[in-house]
Assembly symmetry: C2
Homo-oligomer: 456 residues x 2
Amino acid sequence: MVDRVADYLDELEKYPVASGVGPGEVKSRLPGAAPLKGESMDAVMKDFEEIIMPGITHWQHPGWFAYFPANNSPSSILAEILTAGLGAQCMVWQTSPAATELEEVVTCWLRDMIGLPKDMAGVIQSTASEATLCSLITAREKATGFESNKKGLNSGLVVYASTEAHSSVDKGAKIAGFGEENIRRIPVDENFAMIPEKLEEQIKADRAGGLVPSCVVATVGTTSSGAVDPLEQIGEVCRRNDVFLHVDGAYAGTAAVVPEKRWILDGVEHADSFVFNPHKWMLVNFDCSAYFVKDAGLLVRSLEIHPEYLKTGVDSEVVNFRDWGIPLGRRFRALKLWFVLRSYGLEGIRDIVSRHMELAQEIKKRVEEHEHLELMAPVHFGLVCFRLNDGRGERELEVLNHGFLQNLNETGKMFLTHTMLDKKYVLRMSIGSRTTQARHVDAAWDTIMNTAGEVL
Amino acid sequence: MVDRVADYLDELEKYPVASGVGPGEVKSRLPGAAPLKGESMDAVMKDFEEIIMPGITHWQHPGWFAYFPANNSPSSILAEILTAGLGAQCMVWQTSPAATELEEVVTCWLRDMIGLPKDMAGVIQSTASEATLCSLITAREKATGFESNKKGLNSGLVVYASTEAHSSVDKGAKIAGFGEENIRRIPVDENFAMIPEKLEEQIKADRAGGLVPSCVVATVGTTSSGAVDPLEQIGEVCRRNDVFLHVDGAYAGTAAVVPEKRWILDGVEHADSFVFNPHKWMLVNFDCSAYFVKDAGLLVRSLEIHPEYLKTGVDSEVVNFRDWGIPLGRRFRALKLWFVLRSYGLEGIRDIVSRHMELAQEIKKRVEEHEHLELMAPVHFGLVCFRLNDGRGERELEVLNHGFLQNLNETGKMFLTHTMLDKKYVLRMSIGSRTTQARHVDAAWDTIMNTAGEVL
């Protein structure tokens, strides 16, 4: 199996990036019931190669420019093998002290690597969605003096995020009972960053209307365009108005390991919580989302449970991470983070992230220089947003670019996704796969040029 | 790394089951910052062996009788290697069609293996806690006609579970905004199973009081004692009173693969949702929680999001599991489930589960025959609840049994945990590790006898 994985990582370029199977194709080749008798691993692997592999979209491919990266790396895979072999369930300290304590240590390493305040404590969550939900719950309990947990939510609590913030804010606000009507999407400026003055106006209007402003979610590196909300000013608004501030740096947080990008977190000392995903750009296998909070007591008080069967003799002396997130059960995820940070080192990670950002700058330049390509957003990180624009009307441009994207992806050499920016259909080229080198980006550019020529 | 894991699984008995390190011991041996330069894998592995391994509690040990099992197995580990190597992020169909479709297929296999109704659809969640939260949210939206998602929750919605139900019900109800005061813990009978008449009384009283009964959580195999709530009667109460019924079979659901245990799910056709954890007793590495719903549309409508950057051309033709749970990102977890079901087959899993239940019956018999041991609950599955009782007062018995447990665990040969049943301190011996054979249970019994002699 290890050989199979090693071959796979060597031969990634042989595969079309996105799977070409149609809906139902894989399903139709699988039997309707589990076998009665056990089968040989050879039989299982044969089906894996013939049925499953054609239906895999290759996230580790050097031509992966879709969504955001979800990198793995050899050292992370090795740690996953060990984690699977140990099979330890790390819900409380007692159920594997090393898992809890290594998590405490490596999240501190991460905190310092990206320059978060020293008074923040870290924990690994599965996803940024869950981390953001934890922040929304903590903010809800803080705003209601823990009455929501006790008596249930009586709404009127308001959540704020920019129009460009991630869908997990809406989802989390619904789960936690705030209600869609109490989510305020604050307008953004021409760079798709939240306008702090608009935030403050809205908070004041809500308070005047008898509502309770409870949580602001600011984004560092939005999903659509990589925009950076101004934390310093947003933080001051939150402080002045006594509102909980959560910062979502799911994708771009990793960039702060590069000194020239440290500015993106200017003002983060105002934040009550912060999340970023080492499982995106930091070479750690999904799932590994790093969540940091200023007041761990507030988080724990919002989420803790105390059933008898989970009590241990050392509960007052140790951290029990079960109370720091949604699920009870927890994998030993700190191990892969530790393996990656040690085997690459801070410089190794910096080099890879810098390389991606330089490649993105190069593509940005070429887009700007091209007669019929239009750059659609600032390029702060590895994400370049662009479209074809030959001067036809907006409606026709959407059709054109939709076809452009489809044709690019059908080459199998690269995989891009789209978004809407300012009501315009935009292609997102997200450069961030560990395996992506300059030559891959050059080849992708050639394909973009050829395909552009065709669709125009 | 594969050799290391193979050796580990061969040599499990060499290790003390529970780690003996004290609080802070592991942490104190780790540096305060990530290295600047990358280090060799040899250096990392040296520290793994010297610092991490002594802090691991060995969940796969044949002397593992604590909590519930969290089994891995060779075929599951092999699948985890492949999953880590592919590094696919399976949030929507397009991001790996095979992952979504294999998940649809293998959850159907599971459904049929344990005899759930054919009209239920399955999805893999990380934990039963998250599945139960999904049910609570769905019930909330159903009870309020989707007004909670829209306008926010105005409480008064009530959740019901027995006094023995898992803490995830409380946690989920708090997260979803119901409030602790709106959780009704229904009394149990002498076997620790919910009393359906008491449930119906409470529902009627709440409705008479202007509240809205919205969700009942019944348990098949409670955490403390393995009690089985009577689904048939509870289901009828729910149907008569139009209340959503979620069934938590996290641990014991797996037992329904054995025909003689199929009775535990009698009445499950009344359930709106059901969860059990293949990552507990079905040899699949954590995390893999199987969640089944009768009305997938209701679940999806409660949790769906539609940001532009996640839209694909096939959304109307395929299942996008991102809308079936809390997180957006998803690992390719169906693969390990498929590997395990195929390599063991239904009969292979039945044999292992049956063996554990027979061993538990043997221990039950010995407890009942012993002069100073007292059986504290019926033994339906692999869990035996007992205590020392030589006739001294209740308060002294608690002290005695606390010491008894501590001494047992300090032998390093076995690891048990405790609970409270009917206000009595009880030892839980949960037999369910894949590696546990009759000889291990016999050896554990000898240790129990010796230690009982000592503490008495």
